[in-house]
């Protein structure tokens, strides 16, 4: 699906104020049971080594400057994958005073700061199942088809 994600992905896990459920599931994906390393996924400890930023949480105001710094530190082409309901849409916190409501608020702020992100990807779930994350990696690598599509239904 994406040229940017063809090679082995080195991911940097960036928690921006999440409740730790998605974070635990990310670790679960790396266990022998689900074994994301089959797809070449490797967790790295610095954004400077990362191809992909795995962003969890609704991005609290407190975390925002650090999030921007971390994303800026990743080398181009940089990709952000927003995980979980909080990362994608702000989740249950989408309109609270202390968060910016997920990755879509972040997109605007990054644009203003002039930080280019080559692609955003979205993986909803609350929390994301480990399988959902594996499926996401497979979708982005073009191994399996994408399942969701937007619908407009008319009630006549």
């Amino acid at each position: 699906m994406s040229k940017l994600l063809k090679k082995s992905l080195w991911v940097f896990h960036l928690n921006t104020g999440s409740c730790n459920a998605c974070d635990i599931e990310i670790l679960d994906v790396l266990t022998p049971y689900h074994d994301a390393e089959r797809f070449g996924v490797k967790l790295v400890t610095s954004p400077r080594h990362a191809d992909v930023i795995l962003l969890t949480g609704p991005i609290t105001i407190e975390a925002l400057p650090k999030v921007v710094n971390a994303i800026e530190a990743a080398p181009r082409p940089r990709v952000v994958i927003a995980l979980g309901s909080c990362g994608v849409g702000g989740g249950i916190w989408h309109d609270t005073y202390s968060t910016i409501g997920g990755v879509r608020g972040l997109q605007k702020i990054l644009e203003e700061r002039g930080v280019v992100v080559d692609a955003f990807y979205y993986v909803p779930g609350c929390p994301i199942r480990p399988e959902a994350l594996l499926y996401a990696v497979a979708v982005f690598k073009g191994l399996v088809p994408k399942k969701v599509k937007s619908e407009i239904k008319h009630a006549e």
Binding site: S2, H34, Y121, P124, C126, L134
Partner: protein, 173 residues
Amino acid sequence: MSEKLKPAKLLVIASKAGRVTKRYPYDEPLLSPDFRGKITIDENLCIGCGACVNACPPNALQLMKDKDTVVLRYFVGRCIFCWRCVDVCPVGAIKGLREFELATNDISDLYVHVVHKKAKCEKCEGEGATQRMLYYVVQKSPIVEEYLNECPDCRRKSFIDSVVKRRTGGVSE
């Protein structure tokens, strides 16, 4: 415990444990029977009442109104899969699915819209609820026919008018 395992011993342990890795994207996922996934809205049943919108904790369901239509919008990206909407829907239009593979590269994939027609008021330019909801209410409780196609404001006015007419001895209706 810290004693090093000989490779031969390791092989024995590994062969006992066997392969634990799931071949997931090419296999069935491990879902428990009570797993909750995304929801689907049956457009043939939904009446656009907004009960689910009130119940939804993260506002993943929203009612958006404009001149002729009421749109019920479902944003999967914000849904927490609590299924409260399934419980509150008075007509059972919402079904919970066991789908969780929602990865996408385009955020507009995550929206579902259900478009309702608004009921038009006979007398003024005003508007009321959806056409569907009107039928639903009429089926549930008998209301006076001539108020049916009016907006709430006109209904109030017509009711007061008819009371005034009765009071003054005029013929109502």
